[in-house]
């Protein structure tokens, strides 16, 4: 007999008592126990008349989605966990949220079959906390853990994917240094924030790896540039309703971008702190609560990196490498360079200023040779302000 069937032999009240006795934490960033999540939903139902329900999802802030592997490996466990809590909570409303871009997974035969079997609504969408009032919202991993725990098979552990590798379960007490090769590490990304290489002895449960991401940064990566990438990913994921999440992330990302491009201002580090700290308690879901941590930990833990970028314009990744760029004042939009680029990394249209995708460009210089306007420049120095979208020739203005 499955754990769920067993549970259903009891009354809902007894089932809830049994779940409470398991003393499970909610996985992810909430820091609550599962029962605290239930209590919150209960209050919302009692005081404001919301319909009770149970929902499972990744944390909204989770842009990597590596923990979804838990569901992929054994989806039924997650559905069972949702149903178990729903039974105990006395509700038929069961929701499973998958990340927005996982429509294929949501539509897969296996998931649809389980949704039918467990009478659970599956959507590939951002979890709107305001629309889910009355629902006991738990992490997908919590749902799986609940099933394990009801079966007596739960052991406290942290799921970790090291440098994008396979997702593994690390028992409490395991140290970061035991999981990852820290040779040449400049920083450790643990969950939503950075740690210093010196912190490698932290046990996993204290490292805040709540989204399963453990990544070692070395001299090949610039901390500021990596921060900027993560902030961009967060901006893409944010629903944009809360001021601090929407505008705060934008400002943070903008400042890191400016810093990597050599236009950082002295006050950016402080401004990053001011906005980042306020964001942590000024939004309605994890998206805003933890997404600034990456920038906050970067400026707090690596002030020298920021100072080098801002004051000395010094960074092996951001500045030393040569850059090939198209001078927006000289480009006439002829398209010659686009034709010769072996990597196809020049964007443009006739009579629009062409742009080189710096991330793809390998600085081969073929475009420089064909440009009759001598508009393409290779430099190891400062790059001027360039258009960030297609702009008509003659229309680009420096701000």
């Amino acid at each position: 007999m499955s754990a769920l069937e067993n549970l259903k032999q009891m009354s809902s009240e007894d089932a809830m008592k049994k779940i409470a006795a398991l003393n499970l934490p909610d996985y992810g960033v909430s820091g609550n126990s599962l029962m605290e999540r239930v209590a919150l939903a209960q209050t919302q139902c009692e005081e404001d008349g919301y319909e009770p329900g149970v929902a499972a999802a990744l944390n909204n802030a989770d842009v990597d989605g590596v923990l979804l592997e838990v569901l992929r490996q054994d989806p039924e466990k997650v559905f069972e966990g949702i149903s178990a809590l729903a039974y105990a909570f006395g509700t038929e409303k069961k929701l499973l949220f998958l990340p927005e871009d996982e429509t294929e997974l949501a539509a897969s035969e296996e998931i649809r079959g389980l949704a039918e079997k467990y009478q659970t609504e599956v959507t590939a969408d951002f979890l709107n906390v305001r629309a889910c009032k009355g629902c006991a919202v738990m992490h997908i991993v919590t749902a799986a853990n609940l099933t394990d725990a009801l079966n007596g098979e739960y052991t406290p552990a942290v799921y970790v994917s090291v440098n994008g590798g396979e997702l593994k379960k690390a028992a409490y007490g395991t140290r970061i240094s035991e999981l990852a090769d820290l040779n040449g590490a400049t920083a450790i990304q643990a969950g939503y924030r950075y740690l210093r290489p010196e912190d490698a002895d932290l046990p996993v449960e204290e490292a805040g790896i709540s989204n399963g991401v453990l990544r070692v940064l070395t001299a090949k990566e610039c901390i500021v540039a990596e921060t900027e990438k993560r902030l961009t990913a967060s901006r893409k994921q944010s629903c944009g309703k809360c001021v601090f999440c929407r505008e705060g992330l934008l400002q943070l990302q903008y400042m890191q971008k400016e810093i990597t491009e050599g236009r950082g201002k002295a006050e950016f580090a402080d401004l990053t702190k001011e906005i980042g700290e306020a964001m942590a308690y000024s939004t309605n879901c994890t998206m805003g609560e933890v997404s600034s941590e990456i920038a906050l930990s970067a400026v707090n833990l690596f002030p020298d990196v920021y100072e080098a970028h801002i004051k000395k314009k010094k960074c092996d990744i951001c500045f030393s490498a040569e850059t090939v760029y198209i001078d927006p004042k000289l480009c006439n939009g002829c398209g010659e360079c686009m034709d010769v680029c072996p990597l196809d990394c020049i964007e443009g249209r006739p009579k629009y200023i062409h742009m080189i995708d710096d991330m793809t460009c390998d600085k081969c210089g073929k475009c420089i040779e064909v440009c009759e306007e001598q508009a393409i420049v290779k430099t190891s120095g400062k790059v001027p302000k360039l258009p960030n979208r297609l702009t008509k020739v003659g229309r680009f203005k420096k701000h």
Partner: protein
Amino acid sequence: MAVITIDGKRLEVPDNKNVLECALDNGIYIPHLCHHKDLSPLGSCRMCVVEVEGQEGVTTSCTLKAKDGMVIRTKTPELERLRMLALELLLTGHPEDCSTCPKYGNCELQTLIQYIGPKTGRLKMRTKGFKAQEENPLLIHDMNRCVLCGRCVRACNELRGVKVLQYQKKDMETYVGTLHNKLLKDADCRFCGACAEVCPTGTIRDKLSSMEVKREDAIVPCRHACPAHTDVPRYIRFVKEGDYDAAAAVVREKVPFPKALGYICSHVCELECKRKEVNEAMSIRNIKRYAADHDTGRYWKGKGKQLPDTGKKVCVVGAGPAGLTAAYYLRKQGHDVTLKEALPTVGGMMAYGIPSYRLPREIIAEEAKVIEDQGVKIEVNTKVEKPAELLKEYDAVLMTIGGHKGVRLPMEGNDLEGVLLNADFLRNASMGKETGMGKRVIVLGGGNVAFDCARTAKRLGAEEIHLACLEAREAMTADDEEIEQAQEEGIHVHPAQTFERITGEGHVTGVDFMNVQSFYFDENRRAVIEKEEGSEHHIDGDTVIFATGQRPDITEEAGLELGRGNCIVVKDMEKDKTTSVDGIFAAGDAIYGTKSVIMAIESGREAAIQIDQYLGGDGDISEKLAPEQHADPYIGRIEGFGYLERKQPQVDSPEEREDNFRLFDHGICDSDICKEAGRCLQCDLRLQISRPRLWGDYAENTSESKEA
């Protein structure tokens, strides 16, 4: 009940009520932006943050529930810092220059900026680069100004249930719009205007906004346009619910002739109806007609106001719509009212001007009977020559003699045999008397009265009928419906003509015309007419009817000062209807020239108010007849709402109608009436929405306490 303390002020509030509302209701201002009294709390803008004693950090007061013993602070330095930062962030995506914004001076965001004073110049500013969407009817969406407070989304979804507006995301910019950026009409928007009402910025705005009229009047233009201000949306709603008694009672709160108006009202309300911007205006008059036709009088017969007798006597001279209305309300105020009418029956122009194929005479009799039953004494066939003499017997006299004398244009041949005047012609036709009309009739004039003449001539057996007027077709004052139906009946309509001369020796043989090239009024309001050279032409006819205006049938011998157009002079057309003789008042067409039945009714109401006050009453003639209406704001979505066509009345074919005086327009049928009423945008629902509460409304923020 919970006792909470906000900034040291002890308040007793309901348990769990949101703290922001508790504060605002008790005279404590907490800045807020995404919060709106009628919408669920969102907690996204962070303007309303407060500190709660014993709790760590800050929390939004809009989502905070009052619990007994809670101690709340709203004005600590930390809160002020956070508010400034929140607003600073919010404004990075909002245009910096307020002065070019149409909402300038009415903008909630602007008031917040004044109150909070955020830092500037620190953060990256951006233009969102959305194109202002101006292709929708009634509403402008300019997402560049949007600060994503989400009020419109909640109003559209929670308050209205229409669910058209949603958060959308393009690249990394969140905005509010329809799915796939459909036009509002294609997204089944109901154009209720709730989104524009709650928008705190200049993002969602009314296309039609006017500084000249009051807010309520701009929002519900039909009610404002009606001279008597009948509550159009309210009775349309009753009709939709099938409660025709209640609908008719709503109309009757303002006018004593709901039925007659249902048939012949000039319906200026329809000209202002906002629905016409979406597709076609509401068929307001026909909805009223349906209600009046199906009214059993449940809510008003024998009810309504009747004050005890005052012992004062009033004589009303002329039983047209103005006189009947004034007499009715004066009687209800307790006065002893006598109505003297020169013609054999009451109704005035309704009975002797408007042909019976438009307004059956039974309707006039039926509605006049209500007035008589109220206790108004009616004396017909009684012409009053010397109104001043009436003052010996009456405490006040009201002259509502209408305009029963046609105007003969000064032109060659205007006194030939066969030249008739509109008023005489229509009166004679109405009374079944000989009109003097021949077989080939030329009507001069382009208003509704001209068409009444032409179509009456048709029904009296004229073989060929021409109607000519100075105005171009688009500028003709007659209703389009009237012109089209006349043409269907075989009447030749000739717009843009000058009347050169009426030809004939002794008897009319026709009229010479020239084509008008242009016709306008100069700065002195004088008509300037340019004729087309060599366009002189002649139309044969044996009868010419002047339908070029009417005047009151009165001379100086009556003892009253007369003015322009032979109208009785009153002190102020709207506010003071006293004539040159104390105790004598005047109203209706007699003071302002030929207008409409509804104008006459309103003029009669105003006269009644003034005379009642003159006689010592309070002048309050208002009545509450219809039952309370619960106007459900949750209107829901209706597929294809914007495309629902105006329901047409059932009209007899030209062959069936052109040779008799039977009613030919049967109004909207039973199966269509509910659908027609369902097309209403219910603009008045918007008035239910709470108005914003700004810091300036709070005593603590007025100048003296600010200085302190």
